[in-house]
Symmetry: C2
Subunit: 193 residues, 2 copies
């Protein structure tokens, strides 16, 4: 998606340690017009599929998923939570995810009420690096007996391999920008053609 690649080139910052900061428009400050265009792109890609629910993970995926939902007939958006809170009762699917950004493991939970065997789920997230968060969401769907119809990602760091592993496993992964390489010294970013 050229619009997203252009924004990443213009406003993204490459940092040491394989970090790509896009917090100007994606995951701290949010450009909702861009989100809307991203939703339209995923709707086009997944047009042949029946999607009954969008599943994402807090926090950065939520805004993207909610705006994308408007391109999928306003299906419900469920966001998996990263920590136990007194507002969630005992009836949950739980898995554990290692966060590249936070460099630690954390539990990821979703209420059994909001993920069911009849659901055809589109997973949405802002970033795909090694794929740990997505494998967590897939595991939650498996626990519920829900079908993962596809995976919509804003920025895939292709060189970390998580996206290609998911494709090898048979998942339909639509990443709107795939970074093939990036250089913290020059700030240069190359996208998959």
């Amino acid at each position: 998606m050229k619009e997203l690649e252009d924004r990443i080139r213009r406003e993204g910052t490459v940092k040491e340690g394989d970090v790509l900061k896009v917090d100007a428009f994606l995951n701290h400050q949010c450009d909702v017009t861009l989100f809307d265009h991203m939703g339209a792109a995923w709707a086009e890609h997944f047009a042949g599929k029946t999607i009954t629910k969008i599943l994402t993970i807090e926090a950065s995926g939520i805004g993207i998923a909610c705006i994308a939902a408007r391109h999928f007939g306003n299906v419900p958006v469920v966001f998996a939570k990263k920590a136990q809170s007194i507002n969630l009762d005992g009836e949950q699917y739980v898995t554990t995810v290692y966060s590249f950004t936070k460099q630690r493991e954390f539990p990821v939970i979703v209420s059994k009420k909001y993920l069911n065997a009849g659901d055809h789920v589109l997973l949405i997230d802002d970033f795909l690096a090694n794929g740990k968060a997505l494998h967590g969401l897939i595991s939650l769907c498996e626990s519920a007996g829900a079908v993962v119809e596809g995976i919509g990602i804003a920025v895939e760091k292709g060189f970390q391999g998580g996206g290609d592993r998911l494709r090898d496993e048979g998942y339909d992964v639509d990443s709107l920008a795939i970074v093939e390489s990036m250089d913290p010294a020059t700030g240069e970013i190359e996208f998959r053609g």
Copy 2:
């Protein structure tokens, strides 16, 4: 807002300890059509004001704020973050907030790049109880020299007093449903008339 009150009555659950669970449609599973109607209601209420930015706090406020932004000329949405992460550099406004839900204090941060003296800010959140989170957001705006033009809340727990304290301080608080009392024994919920 009758639609929201009806949903709370129908799908909300009153728990011991002043907890109102609305995770069926507001803050775990998200009804984006409802969010859209909430955004329209705030746009009507704040019609006389110039809003250049929406500020919310992760995680539950993000989806609501992003959809509401579409009713305010697609202004940028910034979400304050609840913990330090390696993706945020040193240039941040920081404050501390006590969470009623999580029953502990946590730092709340926003990058100085995304909150500025020229900003006219609408604060949006899913819940207003004692007002601690909102006072944190207000404090971030004060640090930046940004003007708080108003506060849009989905569910205010009126009996906890935070909303009325903010109104006494002169803030224009538009809560779409104000719970005046609720009873965990009977499940009954009374709204401010």
